[in-house]
Symmetry: C2
Subunit: 362 residues, 2 copies
């Protein structure tokens, strides 16, 4: 077996080795059933326990009450871009979007396809280098919702505070930073997150929706596009992405075992500090691409003095076991993704590598 | 480890043990990458090879040309119930549906939610005991499409011939019998199938669409609900259900290794004969629920003389390692699902058990 690499992929991404080992160990025989979990009926007691646990653990880990329904859906966060306006943007309303990068602009585009979507704020003109100030986010007082993207995987920015939207439902795509820090989530009416960064494998999307917003969902939608369909059946209206839910449950158990989100946040802070501090020591060599107060803890984006050096950096890093460091094809450069399952050791070793690389190449 | 059971679940269902072992063996380190396949980027060379192979193998195993696009989507076949009319049922057209059971009537309902859907034939009045005769399927000459369900998982019926629809596109939900027999699929314009019966785990749906129909797909749809989005990007517009696609690829390789669909069909015929012949030997004890010429090879439905005997049958079967035999909660009775990965040995041993059970209980 090859040595396990330090995997800085932006998603799908590294997962806790402990979780992977459990999956491997019980893959041919799930808890004495004589079959794999992927061969088990989604109506079996075994899967029912997984689904119920995944729901309960989500509420527990994220600090949410029973007034939040937890759904596990297929189709990725990109399908949520459409489901949100389909369910909540009626013909006589406007929905407001903050545009902070590629994914939020895709969400906004779906809002425009489906109804009357307007921009509440945007950092596009500035190359998405920052998250707008909370006071600069403007939207109609009767907006159907305000949509934000808490972490911008490609651009490397992250919200470190959130707008108070009063009676306007706050909807958030948390795909790339859910469960990475301790937050009061009660101001959010709807949160969704593709699992493939902090929660599990690709193919399952967590949707968390507060009862008061759910009650307002529109009727007459295609069945699978209605949140009510899935909430009423606890994601079992049809066959759900069962293997993904199973792993999400194991990852949530792993988060609890680490000490919950306070402990996770503490480690994530040390990880991002290891890299950002190194970058800030050599700002002419490791050039951060975003404003400091908008920096992401999850996806750290930087440029080197020239593209050839960037290629060299990526190649040499790979050779010593650091993979997935290439920036998104739309922006280039380097991106260091530090999701929950990346160890502090991994971040520190990468910082050491960066120190050495600079010495040899500055 | 518990002894591997004979798993007659209707889906998710048994998968080839050889495939499960490959997945387990390489789960912590996919082909020397130092990471699990579920940690691998969907833009990596490793996943690209999987996706390309899955597409190529689908065409090869099913006997389709390059004029069929092969997609792997999330959301289950239930999402296809909506995507088909969203893409192909314009405001001035009618779509025709044959209603042969629970799933086809759900597909029909989505057609009605989205546009003008009409019934082309139905066996509902007869309790869905048969597949309508091809001559009894009537639809407008300019219908947007005719939708059928090739195998009815719950009711236990299956098409053994298909209508010639001429210029009307034939659309088929093959979730529960795709790749189970050698068929000429070139008369179909669109085929979809949830993977969790004959192809792989839950969470991925195969969609096969002919170019001439794809070209007619409507514009202006939500991005993720448009077949064109996915066809143009080979299912990689967003992060696909990667683990599911990986297993589908392995299952298709396994089918090839068995000798392709001719060999699979031969074994499936022997399997269903083992059970149906036994039933036909004791028709007062093992009472088939559907007309003989509509019998499914995949899901064999039957009743025993009374419900207590059925409970006893299910319990005693389970005790000796035959699981998943309970009929769907909407119909009761017994259901024997004989998907590709169920071995001939399994079917024969179940037939022996049925013989013995009858002797003791008739």
């Amino acid at each position: 077996m090859a040595k396990r690499v330090f995997n800085f992929n932006p998603g799908p991404s590294t997962l806790p080795l402990e979780v992977l080992k459990i999956v491997q160990d019980e893959f041919l025989d799930y808890k004495g059933t004589g079959m794999s979990i992927i061969e088990s009926s989604h109506r079996s007691p075994e899967f029912d326990e997984i689904n119920e646990s995944a729901i309960t653990l989500t509420r527990e880990v994220l600090g949410l009450g029973d007034n939040y329904q937890v759904l596990f859906l297929g189709g990725g966060a990109s399908t949520q871009f459409a489901m949100v306006p389909l369910n909540f943007l009626g013909p006589d309303r406007k929905a407001a979007y903050v545009d902070t990068g590629s994914w939020s602009s895709k969400a906004f585009k779906e809002g425009q396809i489906i109804g009357d979507a307007v921009l509440a704020a945007s950092s596009k003109e500035a190359g998405y280098k920052f998250i707008p100030k909370m006071n600069d986010i403007k939207y109609p007082a009767d907006a159907a919702y305000l949509h934000i993207t808490s972490n911008n995987t490609i651009k490397g920015t992250q919200y470190h505070e959130f707008p108070d939207t009063g009676s306007v439902p706050l909807v958030c795509d948390m795909s790339s930073d859910i469960a990475s820090r301790k937050l009061d989530l009660t101001k959010f009416s709807l949160i969704y997150a593709g699992a493939q960064k902090n929660l599990g494998p690709a193919g399952v999307t967590m949707v968390i929706i507060r009862d008061d917003l759910l009650a307002k969902a529109r009727e007459g939608l295609p069945t699978m596009l209605s949140y009510k369909t899935h909430a009423e059946k606890k994601s079992l209206y049809n066959t759900p992405p069962a293997f993904g839910i199973y792993i999400v449950k194991l990852v949530l158990e792993w988060i609890k075992k680490q000490g919950g989100l306070s402990a996770i946040e503490k480690v994530n802070r040390q990880k991002k500090d290891a890299i950002y501090n190194l970058m800030d020591s050599y700002p002419d060599f490791y050039r951060g691409t975003v404003e400091k107060d908008s920096r992401s803890w999850m996806n750290l984006t930087l440029r080197l003095p020239d593209e050839n050096l960037e290629k060299k950096f990526i190649a040499e890093a790979k050779a010593v076991g650091f993979v997935g460091l290439k920036g998104h094809r739309s922006v280039g450069g380097i991106r260091v993704s530090l999701y929950n399952a990346m160890t502090l050791e991994g971040a520190r070793k990468l910082a050491e590598f960066m120190e050495t690389f600079r010495k040899s190449n500055a």
